[in-house]
């Protein structure tokens, strides 16, 4: 068989290679266009507290954590880590804010009581803040540097090592 004819079956290989590439991708992961850009400002009415805005925290590293009481099991897994991290770093200038997505206030408060949340959390009526941050699931956590830029976005529960590494980077100063 001449080499020209051998081309015909071989022509199918690029398609196979493309499909094989698919094994390395995650169809559900949406890359965020916001990373390394300035974080969208927002105002949030904290439970049992005053209003808080992101812009007023400029100069300090900020962690914004999106969660919901119906988000099981991931939010329940990372909640203790959130609270522990807050207690450890709040005196070093870290700011932590929790945004509750599409939840009922009583359920959110119950969640906070259960995990002893002492950092500010608030609801997101109309999901404006969530949409501004390009949130498409819970939990999602954004690490914002002192210049107000999003250094890193974590989709899903934050692992302790990742949390430590990101906070150290944020605290060190210039951010990403």
């Amino acid at each position: 068989m001449s080499w020209k004819k051998a081309l015909i079956p071989l022509a199918t290989l690029p398609v196979i290679l493309l499909l094989a590439y698919g094994f390395w991708t995650d169809p559900k992961a949406i890359p965020s266009p916001l990373v390394r850009k300035e974080a969208p400002n927002f105002r949030i009415a904290v439970f049992d507290g005053a209003e808080m805005s992101l812009a007023s925290q400029r100069g300090k590293p900020v962690i914004v954590n999106f969660w919901a009481s119906w988000c099981f099991p991931a939010c329940y897994e990372e909640a203790p880590l959130m609270e522990a991290t807050w207690r450890k770093y709040k005196d070093q200038g870290l700011v932590m804010v929790g945004v509750v997505i599409q939840d009922k206030d009583p359920n959110a408060r119950e969640f906070m009581r259960r995990f002893g949340y002492s950092f500010p959390n608030g609801p997101d009526p109309g999901s404006k803040i969530s949409i501004d941050f390009g949130v498409y699931g819970v939990p999602e956590t954004f690490f914002i540097d002192r210049q107000g830029r999003i250094a890193y976005k974590q989709v899903g529960a934050v692992a302790p090592e990742v949390m430590e590494a990101q906070i150290q980077a944020l605290l060190k100063g210039q951010g990403a």
Binding site: T12, Y21, F23
Partner: protein
């Protein structure tokens, strides 16, 4: 015990199938009839073993033997028996076993039926079919074992996704699998023809009916799936251009092209290579489809993926492509046709255009389905290719197909003279223009709708014309009444007229698709108790919320009173079903399905105190015509494939005065 026995059966069946392949090939090459006979016995033994495996798994399912992980995943103690049985195809491992069983069944039927008559081809047909079985068995033996155990044994199973515990689940997957597996038969014959060098039309004639029946199952499976989605999922649609849906559509497209171009090869001995390519493509797309469903590389509501399965499928797909395309290339010299045409304008050309459009749609669907992957690979950026893209591309192509359905019957084989064209086309064209003008005068002004009606009226007119002229000619020639002439016409030329009935079904379905998309009306409103929403001529009043416990879930529903033009239509109760294992509730749609339009209502959201609810109501005009069209297609295929003997007897009985 079942686990060990089942696993052992799978391995044994794998060995037997492997032996059947080797013995068949060796027997054919060495011309040893005893080896061939032995391989045929192996095919039967293989089928018995796989049947045993299915029986074991079903036994475990029905007796709720949760020591098997598969049973724990797909059924619960409380499930109804028929859903326990359906658990066989509810998840990955079992669906592969079911596919393999169908493959073994078909192989046995083919071997039993044709071994005597086509001695040169059959060993290789058998080898290919058993080779496919070898792959599916290897998937189970070395990949995902349906008989795997789970430890510790759970007290109750997780059960099927609640969306699947419905009667539709008993029908839809089976129809699709019958279609998919059915296409492996013409593929096997094509491969055998290439291997043995017997490149006449023999393989086509033998497999003609198998191909049409496989196509029928696939068509019914696709229509049924759309019908099921529409009634259940709550977004009021029936097709989302989801990658897995596309994966079932692509082999359907090339299969349809194949059925048509085969007619050219039969009549004119042309397009041999093209037909081989088409059937290879069809079978490859079937494998590609199951690869997509089970590999998880493209996100889909239908996908259920696990581990090494994706890689094994891709490997098999590669093998199939290289092997079949390689064979075609190898034999391409001997496949040149003897085609002659008197004119470029002829029915043959219309068939060529039919193929062009169908393969064009298939190419577009394929491109759109894998483009996100391509974009990510080459650019690193994720894009979506969804409904707006597919609709924009497939609608014009779909309309040209409808036009071709009208042109085809009116244009002559070989050469169509200008006179011929003028005579045949004039009436249907005139009727189409008149019909469309009438509609315009009566209020239909949207251009897409008018264009759609124009094409559909033309095609329908051409088909009706064809029927009436032929009936009249026959009635006059034989003295029968018109009705008898029509019936005998159907029976004597059943392929032709059955095919025309299928075309009528397709056009009816396309009218349904076009009208329901263009004239769909939707309205969502939050209502307090006593308030109403108006949509079209309907008024829907929210009377209150209710909740109740069902055996498997909690149901919350809204009591709605619907009226049309003031006359009461009774109650509608759309709701939401809350299952313990599921994070979000499932919609419970309520609707009035009528042949002219559907009133479709969904409960989008509600307040816990029952004081208000958000209701989404839709009017889908003529959407039932899609399902009716599917039924007409079924009817047409039945007419087309009725067996001869029964036919001859009927024909004889209806013509007693034949001299």
């Amino acid at each position: 015990m079942i686990s060990t026995l089942g696993g052992f059966t799978i391995f044994l069946a794998l060995g037997v199938a492997l032996y059947a392949v080797i013995a068949a090939i060796a027997g054919a090459r060495a011309n040893r009839e005893d080896w061939l006979a032995s391989s045929r016995n192996a095919v039967l033994a293989h089928f018995c073993l796989v049947t045993l495996a299915i029986f074991l798994l079903e036994y475990a399912l029905v007796t709720s033997d949760f020591s098997l992980r598969y049973v724990a995943n797909t059924s619960t103690r409380g499930s109804l028996t028929r859903y326990k049985i359906a658990g066989l195809w509810g998840s990955l491992e079992g669906s592969i076993l079911l596919w393999e069983w169908l493959q073994a069944l078909f192989a046995t039927l083919v071997v039993a039926r044709y071994s005597d008559r086509h001695r040169e081809l059959m060993p290789y047909v058998q080898a290919v079919l058993q080779g496919i079985s070898v792959f599916f068995l290897a998937l189970m033996a070395f990949g995902v074992n349906p008989f795997a155990r789970v430890f510790p044994i759970p007290p109750d199973g997780r059960g099927l996704n609640p969306l699947l515990e419905v009667t539709d689940m008993l029908v839809h997957p089976l129809l699709l699998y019958l279609g998919y597996v059915g296409f492996s038969i013409p593929f096997a014959f094509a491969m055998a023809a290439l291997i043995t060098g017997r490149l006449s039309d023999e393989w086509l004639t033998i497999t003609r009916r198998w191909t049409v029946v496989a196509w029928l199952f696939l068509t019914c499976g696709i229509f049924y799936g759309g019908w099921w989605s529409y009634r259940t999922l709550g977004w009021g649609g029936y097709w989302a251009w989801d990658p897995v849906e596309n994966a079932s559509f692509m082999p359907w497209l090339t299969g349809t092209a194949f059925i048509h171009s085969v007619m050219i090869q039969e009549r004119k001995r042309m397009l041999k290579v093209w037909n081989l390519l088409l059937i290879t493509l069809t079978f490859s797309l079937v494998i590609f489809g199951t690869f997509l469903t089970r590999s998880g590389i493209l996100g889909s509501v239908h996908a259920f993926a696990d581990g090494p399965v994706g890689v094994m499928f891709l490997g098999f797909l590669t093998l199939v492509l290289l092997f079949s395309f390689g064979l075609i290339a190898y034999r391409s010299d001997r496949l040149k046709g003897r085609g002659e045409l008197d004119s470029v304008v002829s029915r043959e050309s219309a068939f060529l255009l039919n193929n062009l459009v169908l393969v064009g749609i298939c190419f577009t669907v394929f491109l759109g389905t894998v483009f996100p992957l391509l974009s990510e690979a080459l650019r690193g950026a994720k894009v979506s290719v969804g409904t707006p893209y597919f609709n924009r591309v497939s609608v014009p192509l779909g309309m040209s197909l409808v036009l071709l359905m009208g042109i085809g019957p009116l244009i002559a084989w070989g050469r169509a003279s200008l006179n011929n064209l003028r005579r045949n086309f004039l009436k249907p064209l005139l009727a189409a223009v008149l019909g469309t003008a009438l509609l315009y005068g009566l209020g239909v002004h949207e251009f897409p709708a008018l264009l759609a009606f124009l094409c559909c009226f033309f095609a329908l007119g051409a088909i009706v014309f064809e029927f009436t002229v032929a009936t009249r000619a026959r009635a006059r020639a034989t003295g029968e009444s018109r009705v008898a002439a029509f019936a005998t016409l159907l029976l004597k030329s059943r392929r032709r007229y059955g095919g025309l009935i299928v075309h009528v079904g397709v056009i009816v379905a396309i009218i349904g698709i076009a009208i329901s998309s263009i004239y769909k009306v939707e309205h969502e409103q939050t209502l307090r108790v006593g308030e109403s929403l108006t949509i079209g001529r309907y008024v829907i009043r929210f009377d209150g919320l209710a909740a109740g416990e069902r055996p498997t879930h909690v149901l919350v529903w809204a009591n709605l009173a619907a009226t049309k033009d003031g006359a009461s239509l009774g109650e509608l109760t759309p709701g939401q079903r809350f299952y313990p294992n599921q994070q979000s509730p499932f919609a419970s749609v309520d609707a009035r399905y009528r042949w002219n339009e559907d009133l479709y209502v969904v409960l989008s959201a509600f307040e816990r105190d029952g004081k208000s609810a958000t209701i989404k109501a839709m009017i889908n005009p003529m959407i039932s015509w899609i399902w009716i069209g599917g039924a007409i297609i079924l009817l047409g295929v039945i007419v087309a494939v009725l067996p001869e003997r029964r036919l001859a007897m009927l024909a004889l009985r209806s013509r007693p005065q034949e001299a």
